[in-house]
C-alpha cells in the first residue's frame, strides 16, 4: 500500500470512527440488544440442554455465539446507513472531485463500525465469563475468537456498505435489517442442526451460511479447537467479506463517476 493510500485511509478512518463514537445510537444497540436477547434465551431455553445429544451442559455456552453474529448485523446497518448518508448529503460527490482513492474511502468508512465491533466482541466475551461461560479453547482461543468476530463483522459491514452505496438511501438500508434478522433466526441459532426435528427447517439451516458462522464461534466455547468448524466459520466469513467488498467497490465506482 502506498503512503498516499495509507494516509487517505487514516483520514477517512478517523472521520468514520469519530462519527460512529459521537452517535450513541450506533454504539449502544450493537452491544446491549444482543446481550439482552442472549440473557432472555439463556433463561428461557436452559431446559433444552436436557435434550439427548445437546452439546453443552449450560445453554449459555451454546448461546454465547449469537451476540457475535447479531452484533455483526448491527455493523451492516451502521456501515450501510453511514455510507447512504454520505450519498444523500452529497459528500461522496464532493469527494469525487478530489484525488481520493476508492479503496481508501471504502476501507476508511468501514473502520468506524469495525472499531465498535471489536469492542462489542470484547464485551460479549467478558459478559460470557462473568455469567459463568466455560471456554474450552483456553486463553489462546480468545484472540482467535476476536479475529473471527471481526472478520464476521467485516463481512456483514461490507454487505451493508454495498446496500448503502447501491441504494443511496438510509431507509433502504434500514429496510434490509429484517432480512438479515430472518437469516439469523433460520439458522442453528437456538439448537444444534442435528437436534432440529423439522426436516425443512434443518435443510434451511444447513444451507444458511449464518449457521457456519455461529458454529465457528461456538466451537471455541464448547469443543475447543475444532478444525472443521473453524475452517467453515473463517471460510464463510471471508467469502462473505470478499464478495461484499467487491460488490461495494463496484457500487462505489458507479457512485464516483465524474459527470
Amino acid at each position: 500500500m502506498s503512503a498516499t493510500l495509507v494516509s487517505q485511509v487514516a483520514q477517512m478512518a478517523r472521520r468514520s470512527i469519530l462519527q460512529t463514537l459521537r452517535q450513541p445510537a450506533m454504539v449502544i444497540p450493537p452491544i446491549v440488544f444482543p446481550l439482552l436477547l442472549m440473557a432472555i434465551n439463556v433463561g428461557g431455553l436452559d431446559a433444552a440442554t436436557k435434550i439427548p445429544g445437546f452439546p453443552a451442559d449450560s445453554y449459555l455456552d451454546f448461546a454465547i455465539a449469537v451476540p457475535f453474529v447479531q452484533g455483526a448485523l448491527f455493523a451492516a446497518i451502521n456501515a450501510g446507513s453511514s455510507l447512504a448518508r454520505d450519498v444523500e448529503t452529497g459528500f461522496l460527490k464532493r469527494l469525487a472531485m478530489t484525488p481520493m482513492q476508492r479503496a481508501a474511502l471504502l476501507l476508511g468508512n468501514l473502520s468506524g463500525v469495525m472499531v465498535v465491533s471489536f469492542f462489542s466482541a470484547c464485551i460479549y466475551i467478558a459478559a460470557g465469563f462473568i455469567a459463568g461461560m466455560d471456554f474450552a479453547a483456553g486463553a489462546a482461543g480468545i484472540p482467535a475468537l476476536l479475529a473471527l468476530a471481526v472478520l464476521i463483522a467485516l463481512g456483514f459491514a461490507s454487505v451493508g456498505a454495498y446496500i448503502g452505496l447501491r441504494s443511496g438511501s438510509g431507509e433502504a438500508v434500514q429496510g434490509f435489517f429484517p432480512l438479515l434478522f430472518v437469516a439469523l433466526f433460520l439458522s442453528s441459532m437456538s439448537l444444534p442442526r442435528p437436534l432440529i426435528e423439522q426436516d425443512w427447517f434443518r435443510a434451511i439451516a444447513t444451507w444458511n451460511p449464518v449457521s457456519y458462522l455461529l458454529e465457528g464461534v461456538r466451537s471455541f466455547v464448547i469443543t475447543g479447537w475444532d478444525g472443521v468448524a473453524l475452517a467453515r466459520g473463517f471460510g464463510v466469513a471471508a467469502a462473505i467479506a470478499a464478495i461484499a467488498i467487491t460488490g461495494a467497490s463496484v457500487a462505489l465506482r458507479n457512485r464516483l463517476v465524474r459527470t
Binding site: I40, N41, L45, A47, A48, F185, L186, M189, F201
Partner: protein, 256 residues
C-alpha cells in the same frame, strides 16, 4: 355521543385504509408473525421433547399462542408509530383542531388497531391450521383466545398511543417497541413456567404477561382456564393504559 362515533369512524377508516393499501405497512405486519411462528415452532420443536414439557396440543400450538399475542401487541405498537407519524406530518394537529370530540381520535386509532390485529390473527390461524397445528379447545375456547388477543392489542395500542401523544415524533419508536418486546419475551416463551430457570423464572413469575400467555395456552389445549384471573388482568391492563393514553392525548392538546 354521535360526534364521538363520527370521529372514531373517520379516524379508524383512514388508518385501516392506509394500512390495507400501503404494502410498506401491510406486509411487515403479516410477514413478521409468520416468520416468528416458523422460526419458533419449526426450529425449536424438539424443545417439546424436554423432560417435564407436557403440553397436550404439541409444541406448534404452544408457540402459536405466544406468536398470536405478540402479533396482536405489535399491531398496537405499529399503530403508535402511525400516530407519531401523523404528528410529524402535521395531520394530527389539524385533526385535533377539527375533531368535535377528541377522545374519538384515540378510539378511532384503537378500533383500527383491533381490525388490524384481527386480520393478522385470521391469517395466522389459517397458516397454523394448514400446517397441522392441533387444537384441543372447542369453539368457545377459540373465541375466548381471540378475545384475549384483542385485549392484548388494545393494551399495546393504548401504551404506544400514550408515548406517541407525549413525544409526537417517530424517533420515539424504540420507546414504544422495546418495552413491549422485552415484557413479552420475559414471559415463558419457549417452555412452560415450571421449566424456566434463573432470573428469567423470577421475572416471569412477576410478569403479568405470563398469566395471559399461559391462559391462552390453556384455551388452545382445552385445559382448565382461570378466566377471572386472565380476563381480569387483561381488562385491568387495558384500563390502566387507556388512562395513560387519554392523559397523553390531553398533553398533546395542551402542546397545541
Amino acid at each position: 355521543m354521535s360526534r364521538f362515533l363520527d370521529v372514531t369512524r373517520a379516524v379508524a377508516w383512514r388508518t385501516i385504509h392506509n394500512f390495507v393499501t400501503n404494502p410498506a405497512f401491510f406486509l411487515p405486519s403479516i410477514i413478521f408473525p409468520l416468520f416468528f411462528f416458523t422460526a419458533f415452532a419449526g426450529g425449536l420443536s424438539s424443545v417439546g421433547d424436554v423432560p417435564g414439557f407436557d403440553f397436550p396440543a404439541g409444541y406448534t400450538a404452544f408457540q402459536f399462542v405466544f406468536v398470536l399475542l405478540q402479533a396482536s401487541a405489535f399491531g398496537g405498537v405499529f399503530t403508535g408509530f402511525g400516530i407519531a407519524a401523523d404528528f410529524e406530518k402535521g395531520f394530527a394537529r389539524r385533526l385535533l383542531l377539527a375533531a368535535p370530540n377528541r377522545l374519538g381520535i384515540l378510539a378511532g386509532y384503537a378500533l383500527a388497531a383491533l381490525v388490524r390485529a384481527m386480520l393478522v390473527c385470521a391469517l395466522l390461524f389459517a397458516v397454523a391450521l394448514a400446517t397441522g397445528m392441533r387444537v384441543l379447545g372447542d369453539g368457545v375456547d377459540l373465541f375466548a383466545l381471540i378475545l384475549l388477543a384483542a385485549l392484548v392489542s388494545l393494551t399495546a395500542t393504548f401504551f404506544a398511543a400514550g408515548v406517541a401523544f407525549r413525544t409526537r415524533t417517530i424517533q420515539a419508536g424504540p420507546a414504544m417497541q422495546m418495552p413491549v418486546f422485552v415484557v413479552l419475551f420475559l414471559a415463558p416463551v419457549y417452555v412452560p413456567l415450571n421449566l424456566l430457570s434463573g432470573w428469567v423464572e423470577t421475572v416471569a413469575k412477576l410478569n403479568p404477561v405470563t398469566a395471559l400467555v399461559e391462559g391462552g395456552r390453556d384455551l388452545i389445549s382445552g385445559e382448565a382456564f382461570s378466566g377471572l384471573l386472565v380476563y381480569g388482568l387483561a381488562l385491568a391492563l387495558v384500563a390502566l393504559f387507556a388512562v395513560w393514553a387519554v392523559r397523553g392525548l390531553r398533553k398533546a392538546e395542551a402542546a397545541g
